[in-house]
Symmetry: C2
Subunit: 188 residues, 2 copies
């Protein structure tokens, strides 16, 4: 997306998080977010269908993952393709990092958003499954690779939050290695 | 649990599913479920905290998984322990199999229950993570093993629904093999 467009979007997300933390998620309107970000309400709704999307950024993640899985080298197996796709989004995760902490705080204080978070995970897993099927992976295996790839990604992101001294791609590598170790039978 | 207690519980679950399919989940009361199962409402509430639990059986699954993960042979790694635990519950899955299809139908027609289903998956994953930590697995790895173990289990259960000619434990074995294949690099 053009740089300006990205900046406006980012400004709205930051404004939204500030307001959610100040007044609670339910007490914040789209108009207030737009005002704080210095844009019109119409601009807000051009970027986000609702205030939930400001927080979850789900449509963007979907679109980017879809594209990335399609672009993953054909020689990669299904799980590798998922991990490759998430790794290719590392710059996005890095850019969004300052929003992740306040985002988690807002979600933690709003039960309805916790449900939404679970729904987001489920819907992204479905999107990945479908993207893998377009790579001619049969549905059940695509589903297994999608859930496992999400698990590896979650593991990598969590490790990265705890230890930002390593770059995110390195944490992905380590998470994938951890999974390989996990799926080996015990050596004893 | 004593056989009688198990039978009563089962009868209430069957009665509940019939009623949910006839009148909708929201239109069914605990009193109606008790009446159809030929028990008092008090008996109903001795078995289930609410009508949601009749459908999800979550407390029982939690308790059994907790016990099974604690009992898994110490030589098993974390992911193997999870798969071992689910495999040890195969008789329960087999016994519940006739309830699974109508259960899915009720959930499919009730959006609030779909959210509940996701919450159940998340809460069982957390319970497994905690049970693994009691086996001295560090938290992040326990989380990865829990999510991956849930993925393997989901894959096995889905394959079993589609092909009941193989026993469930065999489907678990195949799902675990599929995961191992997935986490190998592509051979090309």
């Amino acid at each position: 997306m053009p740089r300006d467009r990205g900046n406006v979007r980012r400004r709205m997300r930051e404004a939204a998080l500030e307001l959610f933390l100040e007044k609670g998620y339910d007490g914040t309107t789209a108009a207030e977010i737009a005002a704080r970000a210095g844009v019109t309400e119409r601009t807000f709704f051009r970027h986000f269908p609702d205030k939930r999307e400001v927080l979850f950024n789900e449509a963007e993640l979907h679109a980017r993952l879809d594209a990335a899985i399609a672009e993953a080298p054909p020689r990669l197996g299904p799980l590798e393709a998922v991990v490759w796709a998430f790794q290719s989004l590392a710059p996005m995760f890095e850019e969004n990092r300052p929003l992740a902490e306040p985002g988690r705080a807002v979600i933690a204080q709003t039960p309805a958003l916790q449900e939404r978070q679970l729904a987001k995970t489920a819907s992204i897993t479905r999107a990945i499954t479908e993207a893998l099927q377009r790579r001619k992976i049969e549905p059940a295996l695509a589903g297994l690779a999608a859930v496992t790839g999400m698990a590896v990604t979650g593991h990598a992101l969590q490790a990265w939050v705890q230890d930002p001294s390593l770059p995110l791609v390195e944490h992905f590598e380590q998470a994938f290695q951890a999974l390989k170790q996990l799926s080996k039978p015990a050596p004893r």
